[in-house]
Structure formats: C-alpha cells, structure tokens
C-alpha cells in the first residue's frame, strides 16, 4: 500500500477549548489511503466530520498529529499560501447540503469558473465548466450553467457541487455526507458519479457517512469511529463480520427491508470504546 499511498495520517488529534474545558473531538486517528474509496462511518459526535475537516485544516479546533502528509507535503503547519496550492486544487471537499454550500447569488456557471480559476488548462474555463457538468451526468449542461442555485433540485445541486470540486482535477476528494439530503434513487446516481470518477480519474475519495449499509455496498475500506476514536478498520465487504461490539451493534439496530426483525436491537454503549486504543485489524486476523 505504501507505494500507492497518497495520504498518511498518524495519531491525529483535534481539540476544542470550550468554557467547560477541553473537548477532545478526534483521538489518535491513524490511517493511510491510496486512490481508493475510504469511508469514515459513525454517529453524530463521533468525530468523522472533524477528521475530514482536519485534513484540509478547516477546523476551529487545535490539530496535532505525529504525521499528516499528502504525497510529500506535510499538511501540518502549512502557510496560507501553501494551503491555497492544496485546498480545492489537489484536495477538494463536497459538503452535505447543496442548499447551504452553494453561493445563492452567483450562477452555477460563475461558481464553476471561480472554482477552476487557479487551474491552468488548454480549454476556456467556460468550456471546462460545461464539460464538468456533463461529467456529473447533467443532461442539459447549458441550462444548469446559467441557472441559479435555487432553481436546481437537491440532486442537481449536489451534482453541480461535485462538478465544481472537479474543476481543478483534485487527487483526493473528501465528501462529507454528500448524499444524505437526497432521495434514495438520486443518492445512488450521485454515488455512481463519484464511483466512476474514482476509477476514470484515478482519484482518492474519503466518504464520510452515517449509513453503514450504504458504505458496505459502496466503499472499499471502512473506518468506524466512536467518541472521536477509530474503533475498527476493515474492508467494506467484510463489514458483516466486524468484531467490535459498536460496529456489530450499529449493524443490528438498523431495520432492513429484506431481513425483517421482530424487534430492533438496542445499542448498549460502553464508554470504554472511546478510551480504548484503536483496534487495528490489518487484513488477516485479530491481535
């Protein structure tokens, strides 16, 4: 994995100072990833979003880590100028809700051009914007290019967001619940776009989600977070054979269409999960 690894995070911690003392949102999170679909799963407050944001230095909290490198760049302590070379250009982020993350007073086209401003290419920014809208399977790119955000449906808005993030051809895309606000069929269509982009553009994807079933069927590898810690790491296809009680509990308490349960299991939380050292399970077996 090391030769193809693009992101290496070792012992990442994010802490917030609050009036009630320090809040430790992300605890000793470590992972490396290549050009693959890595999912970070957890419930609210698990630290999954803060982990994603910390990679781009987009958190109000204090970030510390033993190592956080993207290719050969050390992401710790970059100057604002150095960040500008990375954010949006080499690592991009898609947020959950297109309604709040698109600029309401700019057309989609202008926002696409702005997103691609620092990209040096052979075609005009306008042409490139239209191409990107086509890449995310928008049938009438010209109409969407001229449209205002409020004129688009949720699914269209999210596609437009992804198109903007692609303007600079990032090597790594961090998508924070990119499909949670979407209807189920539109959700799968947007995921298919991301899936195809990972394959055709050789991009890495960090997919942050609360939906275990979706992640199991979509991602390559999964990190499960609880209380700021990664409690388990495993290939997505092996999710059903997860060993950590939290992962197993999460799987058991979700209602499933083709597996009716008389009564849903209740997750009994163990505070120790958030304190225990991360259970690392490289392919093979248990420690």
């Amino acid at each position: 994995m090391t030769e193809t690894s693009i992101l290496d995070v070792q012992n990442l911690n994010v802490r917030f100072d609050t009036p009630k003392g320090e809040f430790h949102a992300v605890k000793d999170v470590s992972f490396t990833m290549g050009r693959e679909k890595l999912a970070i799963v957890g419930e609210s407050g698990s630290g999954k979003t803060q982990t994603g944001r910390a990679i781009l230095g987009l958190t109000q909290g204090r970030i510390t880590a033993d190592r956080m490198t993207f290719h050969n760049s050390n992401l710790l302590g970059l100057s604002p100028k150095a960040w500008r070379e990375i954010r949006g250009r080499r690592i991009a982020m898609v947020m959950q809700d297109p309604k709040y993350s698109l600029n309401p007073v700019m057309t989609i086209g202008d926002q696409l051009i702005e997103a691609g401003q620092r990209h040096v290419g052979t075609v005009s920014p306008r042409q490139r914007g239209l191409e990107m809208l086509e890449a995310v399977k928008i049938r009438d790119p010209l109409r969407v290019f001229r449209a205002w955000p409020h004129e688009l449906s949720g699914g269209m808005g999210q596609r437009a967001m992804i198109a903007m993030m692609l303007m600079a051809e990032p090597e790594l895309l961090i998508a924070d619940e990119p499909t949670s606000a979407l209807d189920v069929t539109v959700r799968l269509q947007v995921l298919a776009i991301l899936d195809d982009l990972v394959k055709t553009r050789n991009m890495g994807l960090i997919f942050i989600s609360h939906d275990l079933n979706l992640v199991r069927t979509f991602a390559d590898r999964v990190l499960i977070m609880y209380g700021g810690r990664v409690v388990e790491e495993l290939p997505a296809r092996d999710l059903y054979s997860a060993t950590h009680p939290y992962t197993r509990g999460l799987l058991a308490c979700a209602p499933e269409v083709d597996n009716p349960k008389k009564r849903l299991a209740i997750l009994a939380r163990d505070p120790a999960w958030a304190d225990a050292p991360p259970a690392r399970q490289p392919a093979g077996g248990r420690p």
């Binding site: 959700r187 079933n213 509990g249 999460l250 308490c253 979700a254 269409v257 009716p260 209740i266």
Partner: protein, 257 residues
C-alpha cells in the same frame, strides 16, 4: 379508521399552482400500522397534514372513525387524532419546560389531574419524572422525540400520525424510538399512519404501506412482500432495490427521474 377518498391538495395559484396530492384514496383499518412511502415531493406528508387539518386547500372526502371531516376540526377530533413531527428540535417550544409542554394540551382540553397524567405519560415513553422540569435544549434528540410522542399520547388518542418520526435521529436512537412506538401500539391498540422515505423503517413498523409518486398512489402493498420483492409497480420495485444499498449496475437501469 381513516378513510380518504379522492383527496386532492393544491398549493399556490396561477403559474405557481402545484397539485401536491392528486385523487388519492386510502382506507386504514383500526389498530393497523400503515405506512406512506415516497421520495421528496411525492405528497406523502401533505396527505398526513391534510388528515391532521393542517392544510385547508383540499378537496375530496376524508373521514375518521366513521365521522366525516370538515375544514375546521373540533377539539374532539384532536382528542382522537394526534401527530408527531419529524424535527424534535423545531416541534417543542424552546422556552417552555417539558411539564408545560405536556400540560398545555391537557389545559386546552380541560382535563384535570394534570400532574398525575404528565407523570404517567413520561413513564410511558420511558423518561423519569425529573424530566418535567427540564427545557428541550437540555435533552438529546432521542429524548426530545420521546417528549413529542408523550405529547401525542397524553390525550389517549385513537390515531397517531407520524411524520418521519426518526429521520433526524442516529440509527441507534432510531431503533429505541421505533421499539417504543411498537410497544405503545401493542399496549394501547392505537392506529398509526406513518410517513417515511425509508422503506426499511416502513417495512419494520407497518403491516401495509402505500407507495406515492408525484401526488398519486402508485400501489398498496403488504410489508411481508418486501423480502421477496413482490411489488407490482416498476417504480416501487426501483425504490425497493435502491434502498438495499449501492449497486453500480443497478443505477444504469434507473428510469428517468
């Protein structure tokens, strides 16, 4: 228990006119748990709100427990029909204590012995009496939704309308709330009309459900059929397959949305 016959709901006028519900008919039996599923804009919540009397631009016929519903609903209607909303953050008054939130319903309906009733209903939703003196912001999302359920229960209704009662909650909290709703129905024999976009939730909670699309009824199916995927309409089948998870090949088969 609930009879809906050729219900249509219109919002806006002129160019902005939207037919949110189009000739929708449905019959829910007493003691049944009935689901309404569909994607956003399918009209499922509007049907629920029309039954609750929260929408008045409707035409057609609606009846509850044999009595025909008019545009204005009586106090007796609300003693019989109560509703739980999706967002437990928005549906509880932020500056009222839980005690006041629950008592208000009782005051409106002129019921006495309020303290005992509030204590009893808190117990029903598995919250201790100490919750009476807390404010909504001091509660978690799951606890708030329990309060919203308690507020619906405090009048001993026959029908509870549930509008996406768990979609704002984490999956582990959702399990607790769904189990609670199941217990309440078993104990009290109330009728549920539950709206959800999540087929998993509907399959778990309801014996029958209706699939809606663009304001219309697509089909009514029994939840027992879901496991084998025996749904007669192509749209319902697509919805069912999509809710089983991601499948790249499946996405290409989706018909136009």
């Amino acid at each position: 228990m609930i009879d809906i016959d050729k219900l249509s709901v219109v919002f806006g006028e002129g160019e902005d006119r939207v037919l949110a519900v189009d000739q929708f008919s449905l019959r829910v039996e007493a003691g049944e748990s009935f689901g309404l599923v569909g994607e956003s804009g399918s009209g499922k919540s509007t049907v629920l709100r029309a039954v609750a009397g929260l929408v008045d631009t409707w035409t057609g016929d609606m009846g509850v427990d044999g009595a025909k519903l008019g545009r204005k609903r009586s106090r007796d209607f609300y003693a019989k029909v109560q509703m739980v909303f999706q967002d437990p953050f928005g549906s509880l008054h932020p500056k009222h204590t839980i005690d006041r939130i629950l008592s208000e319903t009782l005051i409106v309906h002129g019921l006495d012995n309020r303290e005992a009733r509030v204590r009893a209903v808190l117990e029903q939703v598995q919250l201790g009496p100490s919750f009476r003196f807390r404010y909504p912001h001091q509660l978690s999302g799951g606890q708030r939704q329990r309060i919203a359920i308690a507020r619906a229960l405090v009048l001993n209704p026959r029908i509870i309308l549930l509008d996406e009662p768990t979609s704002a909650l984490d999956v582990s909290i959702q399990a607790e709330i769904l189990n609670l709703l199941d217990d309440i129905r078993t104990q009290l024999g109330v009728t549920y009309l539950l709206v959800s976009h999540d087929l998993g939730v509907v399959a778990h909670m309801c014996n029958r459900f209706a699939v809606m699309r663009q304001g219309r009824l697509v089909e009514v199916a029994e939840s027992g059929h879901l496991g084998t995927g025996v749904l007669s309409h192509a749209y319902s089948r697509q919805l069912l397959l999509a809710s089983k998870g991601y499948d790249r090949a499946l996405v290409d088969t989706f018909s136009d949305l």
